[in-house]
């Protein structure tokens, strides 16, 4: 990393300047700054995620009442639904940070995008597996060609394509920009794929949380669901930051600040 916007200035901006301008944004473009912030927040987010996850799973398993139709088997939603939400939002974050990288030529956002892919793929896989395990007692089969399952599967393919392209291109800067274009194309395609499979076949139950007339899910079920969702997000932040740290150290291995960290 040779140049950076704020570091090239002689004076440090005052808090007011930071608030009033885009300086905070450019700060995040600095690898060393992002590395420091990520190192500070990754463990904190991780611990919070662990605590919330334990609390949420406990409430989900022991406090929430059984479903009047599905009995206890529904309790997998406390993992299944957050992973499914995460799988999509991680893709969006991946594409958005790739776009930021393309537009403002920020290496850090390419690193974020690249770090998102395996995590998002893992969430997608998790959603598919838990969904299939849940499908057995409720639908009587592990897999069904239902719209949501299919679009989740396609999402997994999109992640795999992203990672495969990233691995295949030897030059790192070319790979970052090529995968950025691919993730953008995927982002345009996701709604199209979603609606096309939606109209093609549907068995999956409709949404019970995001509705115009308020959630139709029982509050005692909703609260643990929201807690595990927040825990999943924090877990994602923690893992993402750690991955980005590794990416940055690798990318900037010839710079002074990495040497200082490595050699103490």
């Amino acid at each position: 990393m040779t140049s950076h916007y704020t570091e090239s200035k002689n004076h440090t901006p005052t808090p007011r300047q930071i608030r009033n301008s885009w300086v905070w944004f450019h700060r995040f473009g600095s690898s060393s700054y992002f590395y420091r912030v990520a190192s500070r927040w990754a463990p904190r987010a991780g611990w919070c995620a662990l605590i919330l996850m334990v609390a949420g799973v406990y409430m989900g398993l022991f406090v929430a009442p059984p479903d009047y139709q599905m009995g206890d088997s529904y309790r997998i939603i406390f993992i299944h639904v957050p992973s499914a939400w995460m799988s999509l939002s991680v893709y969006i974050l991946m594409a958005v940070s790739a776009t930021i990288g393309l537009v403002w030529k920020m290496k850090v956002s390419f690193c974020v995008s690249r770090a998102c892919a395996p995590i998002g793929a893992a969430f997608t896989f998790c959603a598919l597996v838990t969904g299939s395990l849940w499908g057995k007692p409720t639908w009587g089969t592990y897999w069904i060609w239902d719209a949501r399952l299919t679009s989740e599967l396609v999402l997994l393919f999109l992640y795999m394509g992203y990672m495969a392209l990233d691995k295949a291109i030897p030059d790192r800067s070319t790979a970052s920009r090529a995968t950025a274009v691919l993730s953008l194309v995927g982002l345009v395609n996701i709604p199209i794929i979603h609606y096309s499979v939606e109209w093609w076949n549907t068995l999956h139950q409709g949404s019970t949380v995001f509705r115009m007339d308020g959630p139709s899910i029982d509050t005692r079920m909703l609260i643990p669901l929201l807690i595990t969702t927040v825990a999943m997000n924090l877990y994602f932040i923690s893992v993402l930051f750690n991955r980005v740290r590794c990416e940055l150290l690798d990318l900037e291995r010839r710079t002074q600040w990495v040497r200082e960290i490595v050699h103490g």
Binding site: F157, G161, A168, T174, A178, V181, L182, N189, I193, W200
Partner: protein
Amino acid sequence: MLITIIKRDLKCVSHNLSGAIQPIGFFIIITSLFPLAVTPDPEALQSIAPGIIWISALLATLLALDTLFKEDFIDGTMDQMFIAADSLYVIAFARIISHWLFSGLPLIVMCLVIAMMLHIPAYTFDALIVSLLLGTPTLSMVGSIGAALTVGLRYSGVLLTLITLPLYIPVLIFGASCISADLAGFPWTGQAYLMGAMLVLSITLAPFATAAALRINMS
């Protein structure tokens, strides 16, 4: 410049006809494998024929995609064209059009023969042709992005498949359901309109993405 590139591609194809008919040969072979593997029963074949035709069309398009930009990229023609046209968008658009002319268009002609072999009744031919006419250019458009992204790689066939096929799913769904609906006696204009919408969207956006991907690999 657009016309010039297409004319050049026409000339190249006329010098190397065997290369140009490969996708069609591939299309015929794939479709004739299905009766052998599944069943020769006319009624059963008729019910899966839309899927067979569309999957084969998808794969045939994909086969021709690998060389869409690669030859020009490797021997430096791409650089020369870029200098002459000063716009990768035009080059990408021209190459996509010629890709469709040599893989999509012959496929539409050929599919009538295949349709008869799969016992699709003649009254569904309009749905068949309209769906392929709207769908195959979309496939060329979307596929060109994948071809441009992998243009710098020596062995890109499988990778190209992996990144392109998920993007083809909407076309596959509506293309096949267009024919199935007509077979079952339902109106199929809804699917056709959606395919038209996808075609317009892909013509609007895909060449930009393709040009961007080419630029990334050329720098």
